[in-house]
């Protein structure tokens, strides 16, 4: 380049820039052999991604609904029937509990803990985000420190402590309420942290403007902050819902009454070497029932979801 004179270099750059802009507009920079090569790689990846999904969905809608064990590989079912779903409606496993009850239990557990965590958490998140006060650093550190720990680390103390809360015949440990409370152990700090990360990105000026217009600080919180934070609250609640919906080890450890069992526990009962009497078509239908509702919502919210994760995560 140095051998070129300045105007010549400019002309050369301009030419390249023009060619580049042109290729951008036409979008045909890729040669056909390269295109085909890339498409083949991506088709292979698509196959690997879809393989387990097709396998399980296909088995669940297979018209031969009582597939004990599949003897051949079918990724596309030879017909369509919802009989496997109907079959597990009354009694998915040998436990005396029906599918609607299991579904409702999972919904109550996940929904309850998620809503409680954001309702309680958003106030703390606001406080951490906006106010400077004595002990702020220490308290924030105390919240983050919990996030490092997996839920399983507090399983033993939660189990023995909740087991001691007995009112008449009611044992808090052996109830969905107890599992929900135990879920809050780590879900609440997660919600606080996730919401704080989001509120940090909302400009303070909006609240200050409301203040000048005569809002009291509490009015400012309820009328300005809460509406602005609604998307973040929804996302955080959904993330909490996801973890409650598929929560396994707390419910498995705590619950003994089949009427309180959840979908996640039932799926484990239907899998692997201990489920020799469960037809795999039933297992497949159960998998789809658990995965479909949350996956569809997740897919719809996905654009905001990864953002939400990184807001909470990166700022830590």
């Amino acid at each position: 380049m140095s051998s070129l004179s300045a105007p010549a270099a400019d002309a050369a750059t301009a030419k390249i820039k023009f060619a580049y802009a042109e290729s951008q507009i036409v979008g045909q920079k890729m040669t056909l052999p390269k295109q085909i090569f890339f498409q083949l790689i991506l088709l292979f990846i698509t196959f690997t991604v879809l393989f387990p999904i097709l396998w399980v969905v296909s088995m669940s809608v297979d018209p031969r609904a009582d597939i004990m064990r599949p003897t051949s590989l079918e990724l596309i079912p030879p017909g369509f029937s919802l009989k496997a779903y109907a079959d597990i409606l009354e009694k998915p496993t040998s436990n005396p509990v029906n599918l609607p009850t299991l579904f409702l239990n999972s919904l109550l557990l996940a929904g309850g803990s998620a809503i409680a965590s954001v309702l309680v958490g958003v106030f703390a998140a606001y406080s951490f985000s906006r106010f400077k006060f004595a002990g702020r650093q220490v308290l924030m550190l105390a919240v983050i420190a919990v996030l490092i720990l997996p839920n399983v680390a507090t399983l033993a103390p939660l189990f023995v402590l909740l087991n001691r809360v007995v009112i008449g015949d009611f044992n808090l440990r052996d109830s969905l309420l107890g599992v929900g409370l135990a879920l809050l152990t780590t879900l609440l700090p997660f919600s606080i942290w996730n919401l704080k990360g989001y509120i940090d990105t909302i400009p303070k000026e909006l609240e200050e403007a409301a203040m000048i217009d005569g809002c009291s600080p509490n009015q400012t919180f309820f009328r300005i902050m809460l509406p602005l934070a609604t998307p973040a609250i929804a996302i955080t609640a959904f993330l909490g819902f996801m973890s409650g919906w598929t929560e396994f080890y707390l419910s498995w450890q705590f619950l003994t009454n089949p009427q309180n069992f959840t979908l996640a526990m039932t799926l484990y009962n239907m899998t692997g070497q201990f489920a020799s009497s469960t037809p795999w078509s039933h297992f497949s239908a159960m998998s789809v029932i658990i995965a479909l509702p949350v996956s569809v919502v997740y897919l719809a919210l996905q654009k905001y979801m990864t953002g939400g994760l990184t807001i909470g995560g990166v700022k830590g």
Binding site: M1, I16, K29, M30, Q35, F38, Q39, L42, I45, T46, V49, P52, I53, W55, V56, R69, P70, L73, V120, F123, A124, F128, F131, K132, F133, V146, L149, P150, V152, A153, L155, A156, P157, V160, L161, R164, L181, A182, T185, L188, P189, I212, S216, N218, F221, T246, F248, Y249, Q253, L267, T271, G272, W280, F283, A291, S295, L299, Q302, T306, G313
Partner: protein, 342 residues
């Protein structure tokens, strides 16, 4: 409640802007806003944690579970020593340092695959003029949105030696080139012989690895795609003017500029994979012979199967210490790579 009187409001209106703002943020009692969350956490988080620390120094077991049963005996550091010396006879093949080592190896081997595959696919999807980009991106997000619990249970059945989809697929592929289907009666989970001579890892590890690669790379692709799209085209333009080949451009422009976005994602991936209870517990169950067990699944077994609450509490303390070290190390790394001046 600190509501504002007319006089106070007027006083603030006349005060200089900065003072007014400052006083506004001091008006509400921040502790009042913290109170509900801190009350719940005090009862449900900090008290159980403190109680767990106390439990770890006792022989808390089934005998102490009932409401009016006797208090457990204080045993000092006995639980901690028992774990380190593998003196937990209730669990066969208990080996703390093997499990810890496997857990770390499991984490890093998985995350390396996630990052390499994730970044490569992101770069591939970012190629100019590629057809069906949107379709691929929509499909590749599926492993993220499907609950891990379901994925793990489905793969568990897919690895079944007789009826699993993996062996059936391999057999049908092998059939095309004339290999007998009996060759593909692979006992993915139960097999004890290490498939690669010299590397003492059971086949179950590779089954878990395959499952977790399926689960993990799309997240890295999403993060990398976002970062790729924010790299200015000018860099590539300048590089191609200077005669850099696409490979050189990849290593000198793409990779360094991906780094700031990838480091937090990698740290997130490390903590997630380190504690990936669902996958290990449902796919391999820690088998064979506890060779694929990780720390969190062991902690669960101590409580759930053995009712050794005191030992489990001590075990949780070790997990906490190890995770604290990992967090401090990764935080240092992320701080060192936080800003990347171009």
């Amino acid at each position: 409640m600190a509501t504002l009187t007319r006089e106070q409001a007027r006083a603030q209106m006349t005060a200089p802007g900065t003072t007014r703002r400052k006083s506004f943020w001091k008006l509400t009692n921040p502790y009042l806003y913290l109170l509900p969350a801190m009350a719940v956490m005090a009862v449900m988080t900090y008290y159980p944690m403190a109680y767990g620390i106390w439990m770890s120094f006792t022989d808390y077991g089934l005998k102490n579970l009932r409401v009016n049963s006797a208090a457990p005996d204080f045993v000092g550091l006995q639980n901690y020593i028992a774990i380190l010396t593998n003196n937990v006879p209730q669990i066969a093949n208990f080996d703390f340092f093997y499990t810890l080592f496997f857990n770390l190896f499991w984490t890093f081997s998985n995350v390396i695959f996630h990052v390499v595959i994730g970044v490569l696919i992101a770069v591939l999807l970012n190629a100019k003029g590629l057809w069906f980009k949107g379709v691929y991106r929509a499909i590749f997000v599926l492993p993220i949105v499907i609950p891990t619990l379901v994925v793990a249970n489905v793969w568990r059945n897919m690895f079944d030696p007789d009826f699993g989809a993996i062996n059936q697929f391999l057999a049908s592929m092998g059939g095309l080139i004339g290999i007998s289907p009996a060759t593909f009666h692979i006992r993915w989970i139960e097999s004890l012989n290490p498939p690669i001579p010299g590397i003492p890892l059971p086949l179950a590890y590779f089954a878990l690895l395959i499952t977790n690669i399926w689960l993990g790379w799309p997240f890295m692709t999403i993060v990398a795609t976002g970062a790729l799209q924010s790299i200015s085209k000018d860099f590539y333009e300048a590089a191609s003017i200077d005669g850099a080949s696409p490979t050189q451009q990849f290593f000198s422009i793409t990779l360094p500029l991906l780094r700031p976005a990838m480091v937090p994602a990698i740290i997130y991936g490390i903590t997630l994979t380190f504690n990936l209870f669902n996958l290990i517990y449902f796919v391999s169950g820690g088998g064979p012979l506890r060779e694929t067990e990780i720390l969190v699944t062991t902690a669960f077994r101590l409580v759930n199967e053995q009712s050794l609450y005191g030992v489990a509490a001590a075990f949780a303390m070790y997990i906490a210490i190890i995770l604290l070290i990992i967090t401090l190390v990764t935080n240092r790394i992320s701080r060192a790579t936080e800003s990347y001046d171009v």
